[in-house]
Symmetry: C2
C-alpha cells in the first residue's frame, strides 16, 4: 500500500486545472507522469496530444480470445477558488484523520489511481492479467471533454473493448457499495447582458437607463416558477418518467435528512411533487453557477454597470438532448430580452444523459465485484452529475459503462478541502483486482 499511496500523492501534486490556460504545462506534466508509470508497470503507454490537453492511452500485453475492459479516468481537476477556504494548499496533499486532502483527491485522481494500482498489484502477483486492459486517462473532463469524442472516433479500432469501467461517481454512504446505472447530462451557456457603453454614474443616469444587473436578474428569476418548475417552453418535453421500482428502491437510501446535514442549508428546495433523490438524480435542473456585474469590491461604488453575466448549467435526464435544450433556452431569453439592453447567449460545453441496464451480464459481474469487496449488497442508483463521455463511449465504441463509484458524500468535490479516504483508496484497489476476475469469467 505504501507505494500506491506515494504514487497517488505524486499525481495530486500536479495543479492540472484544465479550464485555466495558465496551467497548461502542469496538465501536460501530469499526463507524462501517468504515462511513465504505466510504462513502468509493463503496459505500452502513449501520450496523444489533442487540440488542448493530452490523452494517455495504455494497453496490457494482448491476450487474444480474452475480453477487453477499458478503464477510463481523468487527471484534470477543477479550479481551486476560493483558495482562502482551504485548510492546506490544494496541491500539497495532506493526510489528516485517515483522509488525503488535495484538489483531485476524489475527482478523479484517487479513483483512477486505485484501478491503476489494482492492475499493478495483479501483475506483480500473477505476472499477467485475467483479461485485456486498456487505460484511457484524459485531461479535459472538467471542461466537458471537448476533444475526447473525436479522439475515440479516430482511435476506434485501437480502443475496441467489451465493457468500460469508470470510478468517477459516488457511494451512497461509507461502506455501501454503489452501482450507478444512470447519469444526468449537461448543457452549459452564458448569458451576457450589455447596457451602456461605459459604467455610468447611477445618480446622474439612474431612472432612465436599464441596469444590466436588474435586467439579468429578471431573466434568471423567470427560469423557475415558485414551485421549482423550469419555465422554458419545451424544456420537459423529452423527460422520461422515473420508474416505480426506482422510486421504491430510493426510499431506502439516505435522503432529505442526509442532504440537509451534508449541505447545511436551512431547508431543502426543489421541484414540487418529487423527493430529494428524484430531484437530484432523475429530474433536470437549471443552475446559475456564477453571476456577476458591476462593482465587486469593498464598500460601495454607485454605478450602472455596462454589462452583467450569468453562467448557467442545465442538468439533463433521459431523453433530453443538449442541443435542443440550448435552443429552447436561447429562444426563451431572446423573447424575454427588454429593448433597453442587448442580450448575448454563449453556448458552452454539453453532454447527453446516460443510462444502462443494471441487469446485463457485465452489470451483474460488476455488482459481484462490489459485493465481494465491501461484503454488502450494492445499492442501485442514478447520479446527478454528468460524465458526458459515457454516452460517447456508447455511441462510438458501442460498449456500456460500469460506474463503480468510490466518492463519499462528504468528499468536497469541486469545493475547498476536497478529500479521499485512505480506506476507500485501498478498497478501490481491491475492487479493481476482483473486477478483473469477474469480468474475465
Amino acid at each position: 500500500m505504501n507505494s500506491a499511496l506515494e504514487d497517488l500523492l505524486a499525481v495530486l501534486r500536479f495543479p492540472s486545472i484544465s479550464t485555466s490556460s495558465e496551467n497548461a504545462a502542469d496538465v501536460r506534466n501530469c499526463a507524462e507522469w501517468i504515462a511513465a508509470k504505466l510504462t513502468g508497470m509493463g503496459l505500452s503507454a502513449a501520450i496523444h496530444q489533442t487540440v488542448k490537453h493530452p490523452v494517455v492511452v495504455a494497453k496490457s500485453k494482448p491476450q487474444p480470445g480474452k475480453p477487453t475492459v477499458l478503464i477510463y479516468g481523468h487527471y484534470d481537476v477543477q479550479p481551486v477558488d476560493p483558495l482562502d477556504q482551504w485548510q492546506t494548499p490544494p496541491f500539497q496533499p495532506d493526510i489528516r484523520d485517515g483522509r488525503i486532502f488535495a484538489r483531485g483527491a476524489t475527482d478523479n485522481k484517487g479513483q483512477f489511481m486505485s484501478h491503476l494500482c489494482g492492475v499493478e498489484q495483479t501483475l506483480a502477483e500473477h505476472g499477467e492479467l485475467p483479461l485485456n486492459v486498456i487505460f484511457l486517462i484524459e485531461g479535459e473532463e472538467e471542461i466537458g471533454s471537448p476533444n475526447l469524442a473525436p479522439f475515440l472516433r479516430e482511435h476506434r479500432s485501437e480502443l475496441a473493448c467489451d465493457i468500460i469501467a469508470i470510478s468517477d461517481t459516488g457511494m451512497v454512504a461509507p461502506g455501501v457499495p454503489t452501482f450507478t446505472y444512470g447519469l444526468r447530462g449537461i448543457a452549459c451557456l452564458e448569458v451576457h447582458v450589455h447596457g451602456p457603453t461605459i459604467d455610468l454614474h447611477s445618480g446622474i443616469f439612474g431612472g432612465s437607463v436599464g441596469n444590466p444587473n436588474t435586467m439579468l436578474a429578471k431573466l434568471v428569476a423567470a427560469v423557475h416558477d415558485a414551485h421549482g418548475r423550469i419555465q422554458i417552453p419545451g424544456f420537459y418535453n423529452a423527460v422520461r418518467d422515473v420508474h416505480e421500482w426506482e422510486k421504491e428502491a430510493w426510499t431506502k437510501l439516505p435522503g432529505e435528512a442526509e442532504t440537509l446535514r451534508l449541505t447545511g442549508v436551512p431547508a431543502l428546495w426543489g421541484e414540487a411533487g418529487y423527493s430529494d433523490l428524484e430531484c437530484r438524480w432523475a429530474r433536470p435542473t437549471a443552475e446559475v453557477n456564477g453571476i456577476g456585474g458591476g462593482y465587486q469590491g469593498e464598500g460601495s461604488k454607485t454605478v450602472i454597470p455596462r454589462s452583467a453575466f450569468a453562467k448557467f448549467s442545465f442538468r439533463l435526464v433521459p431523453d433530453q438532448d443538449p442541443d435542443d435544450i440550448i435552443k429552447n433556452v436561447q429562444t426563451f431569453f431572446a423573447k424575454m430580452a427588454p429593448d433597453c439592453v442587448r442580450v448575448e447567449i454563449k453556448p458552452g460545453h454539453s453532454g447527453p444523459p446516460y443510462s444502462m441496464d443494471p441487469h446485463s451480464v457485465y452489470g451483474k459481474a460488476a455488482q459481484r465485484a462490489l459485493r465481494a469487496t465491501f461484503d454488502r449488497e450494492p445499492a442501485l442508483i442514478r447520479e446527478g452529475g454528468s460524465i458526458p463521455i459515457v454516452q460517447s463511449f456508447n455511441d462510438i465504441l458501442g460498449s456500456d459503462t460500469l460506474l463503480l463509484g468510490l466518492a463519499l458524500p462528504d468528499c468536497q468535490m469541486h469545493a475547498p478541502n476536497e478529500n479521499f479516504t485512505i480506506s476507500n483508496y485501498e478498497a478501490g484497489i481491491r475492487l479493481n483486482r476482483r473486477l478483473l476476475q469477474e469480468l474475465a469469467m
Copy 2:
C-alpha cells in the same frame, strides 16, 4: 493660468480613494497638500482628523460686518476599476484635446480647485476678498461623508456662514451655465443570500438545494414591475409631485436623444409616465450597483455557490427619508426570502434629498455670476446625483447651498477616463471671482 493648472495636476496625482483602506495614506497626503496650498495663499488652514479621513478647513482674514461664504469640496475620489479601460493611468493626469484625464478631474478636484484658484487670484489682484471665505474640503464624500455631520456639529460656530457654495454638479451642455436647486438623496444597502455551508457540486446536489444566485435574482427581479415602478410597499409614500413649471422648463433641455447618445444604450428605460429628465432628477430609483455569486473566472465551474450578494443604492427625492426607505426595503426582502436560504441585509451609507428656492436673494446672486461668466441665461435644474452633506449643511449650519456645477455630460465621472476640460477649469476660476463680488453686494 499656468500655475492654476500645475496646482490641479499636483492634486490629481494623489490616489485619494476613500473607500479603499489601502489608500489611507494617499488620502492623508492629499489633505496635507491642500492645507499647505491654502496656508500659502494667506488663509489660516487646519487639518482636522476624523475617525477615518481628514477634513481641511481654511478661513480668510476675518472682515467683520461682511457676509461669509463657505465653499465646500471633496478631495477623495471613486475607485478606478476597471483599470484596463483607462487610456492613461488614472493618477498620472494626461492632457489631450483640451481635456485633463484623471480620476477626480471633474469629481471633485477640478471643481473645488477652480474656487481655490479664484480666491488666490482675487487676493493676488486686490490684496483682500470682498467677503469672508471659509473653505471646507473633506475626504469622505464618495463613501457618504459619514464623519462630516458630526464635524459640522462640533465646529458649528467656527463654520457659521450666510451661504454655502459647491461646484460638484453638472452643466446641462457645454457653455450653458447651470444652477441646480435640487438633489436626490441616497440610501445604500447590501443583500446577502446565504445557502449551503460550502460551494456544492451542482450535479450532485442540483435539484434539491436552493441556489443563492437564483434566489438573489428573484429578490432583485421583484424590486421593479414591468413598467419600471418600484414594488416595495411604502416606497413612494413621501414622494412630492414634480412641479408643472419644472416639467415645462425641462422640455427645453437636452433630453432623450442626448441621453441615448451619452450612454450608448439601444433604448431608454424608466418609470412609465415620466420623461427622461423627470426620471433622472425628480423620481426615486433602485439600482443594483454590483451583483456577484459563484464562479467568476474563465470557462465554467459547476457549483451551487454558498452565497451571493447584491449592492443596492436607492436614489431618493423630497420628502423621502433614507431611514424609512431602508426599513421598507428590509421588510420587503425579509417577507420575500424563501426558507431554503438565509437573507441578510446590511444597511450602508445614506443621505436625504435636498431642495432650495432658486428665487432667493443668494440664489439670484449666484445666477448673476453664472450669467456673467458664461454670457448666457442659466438653466434651472435638479440633479439625479446625491451630495448628502448639502442637507446636513442646511440642518446644522442653517444655510442654503448654491450648486454651481461645472461637470460636463461626457466627463466620465465614476467611470474610466474621467476628464475635465481646461476651458471649464478656467471658467470655474472666473465664476468664483464673480461670485465673491455678487454675494458681497
